[in-house]
């Protein structure tokens, strides 16, 4: 170093940088996996409780419920042992044991992340009769209004998802429309300032209804009696 130059710390070699990043990365991975495994049973228990409560929220009049899985051969069968990834629905029954409706889980991409919802389906009305957001990371103050905005949730008190005569598809596509322009029972009145989140709900609900409503129409006899 020549006279007059300020002392400069020598640059670190490749190995120390590599060692630090990989070492810290491995340790962090271990901590995250341990935390995940340690909290998983409790989180699953909490989610199951929240789901059970949500079933009664989206199916007004239901006092008990049973879980069913869709069989590839057609019809529903009671699901007694929980299996991950199994397509399932939750049938809700009134005090006399009559089928009130079916609660269905659905998910779709929102503005920030995947939005998970539970929606209630009335077999007799062929309509959505309730919706509850189970999980979302939408923008606080804007997109997250899909969870609790009373006017928005009013859309799902009776949203038409009726089927065509052959029972294979929805008669009308579920669509989120600009706030204040809803004119049909299958449209969702969006929230101003949360258009993308509102559309995401419309889109995931439409996809889920298209998949489940035909199955429920064809196999609803197996859901009528509480197992």
């Amino acid at each position: 170093m020549s006279a007059g130059q300020l002392p400069v710390a020598a640059p670190s070699g490749t190995w120390p940088m590599f060692r630090a990043m990989v070492g810290v990365g491995l340790a962090c991975g271990l901590i995250i996996v341990s935390a995940y495994l340690g909290t998983k049973p409790r989180i699953e228990h909490n989610r199951a409780e929240a789901l059970a409560a949500a079933i009664y929220d989206v199916l007004p009049g239901a006092v008990s419920s049973a879980t069913f899985r869709w069989q590839e051969s057609g019809g529903f069968a009671p699901l007694r042992v929980e299996a991950a990834g199994e397509a399932r629905v939750y049938a809700g029954y009134d005090t006399d044991g009559r089928l009130v409706g079916v609660a269905i889980e659905a998910a779709g991409m929102g503005y920030q992340d995947v939005i998970h919802v539970l929606w209630g389906y009335s077999v007799t009305e062929e309509a959505v009769v309730g919706l509850k957001v189970l999980e979302s990371r939408e923008t606080p103050g804007l997109g997250d209004r899909i969870e609790h905005d009373p006017a928005f949730l009013e859309n799902f008190r009776r949203l038409d998802v009726s089927l065509t005569d052959d029972g294979q598809a929805l008669r009308h596509d579920v669509a989120a429309v600009k706030h204040g322009t809803k004119s049909n029972p299958w449209e969702i009145d969006s929230i101003t300032g949360a258009t993308i989140s509102s559309k995401a709900i419309g889109s995931l609900l439409g996809a889920s209804a298209s998949a489940w409503a035909p199955r429920i129409r064809s196999g609803h006899e197996s859901l009528e009696v509480k197992p």
Partner: protein
């Protein structure tokens, strides 16, 4: 260093609580301060989550300070902070899904809370473990205290409750604005006014004496 006394561990702890409070003095971490203090419960939970991340990251960064080359220090600090935020995220979900839902995206956003990276870079990477933990505890408790100051005022005036229990007479008309974002700004402004007024008054008194 000659002529410069080294602060004690107690000093490191106490400075964050009051003299260098991250919210009221340094005005850092404004995003959660304004966003999740609409109830005392949310404010307390966010304060405790940040406290945990701050203490843990300070501890790890201080312990590894000689092992981490300066070129990769910020990336490594963020990795450490993000790890503890993920742990906190799981723990909050295990405690209460409702609380997790109420705090929403702000749990993940603890990663970018400048109080945490600021303390890791400015303090923990240059000091021993004991002093760094004391610094993290002081700053974390100071942050939690500030959030509680806002949360308590906003919940009482905005909902008439404190931790969900009614504290104001039934005839009290809630100031709904206080639990909305604008209420956060007004409340923060009120507390900053109070803090600055006290500091100026104390400075004048010290000068006079």
């Amino acid at each position: 260093m000659s002529g410069h006394s080294t602060p004690s561990t107690t000093d490191e702890f106490l400075k964050g609580l009051w003299r260098e409070n991250p919210v009221f003095v340094q005005v850092l971490g404004m995003c959660p301060t304004l966003a999740v203090t609409n109830t005392a419960r949310n404010a307390l939970a966010m304060g405790l989550a940040t406290l945990f991340v701050l203490v843990s990251s300070n501890l790890v960064v201080s312990a590894l300070r000689r092992f981490i080359p300066k070129e990769v220090r910020i990336a490594t600090f963020i990795l450490v902070i993000a790890t503890f935020v993920t742990v906190v995220d799981y723990v909050i979900q295990a405690i209460s899904l409702d609380l997790h839902k109420a705090l929403g995206a702000f749990i993940a956003l603890i990663v970018v809370n400048c109080v945490i990276l600021g303390r890791a870079e400015a303090f923990a990477s240059k000091n021993g473990i004991r002093a760094s933990v004391a610094d993290g505890l002081g700053m974390g408790l100071g942050f939690a205290f500030a959030l509680m100051c806002l949360g308590v005022v906003r919940e009482i005036l905005g909902s008439g409750t404190l931790f969900g229990f009614p504290v104001l007479p039934g005839r009290f008309q809630e100031w709904v604005m206080m639990i909305l974002p604008s209420g956060g700004f007004f409340t923060l402004a009120g507390w900053l006014l109070l803090f600055n007024w006290r500091r100026q008054r104390n400075a004048v008194r010290e000068e006079a004496s």
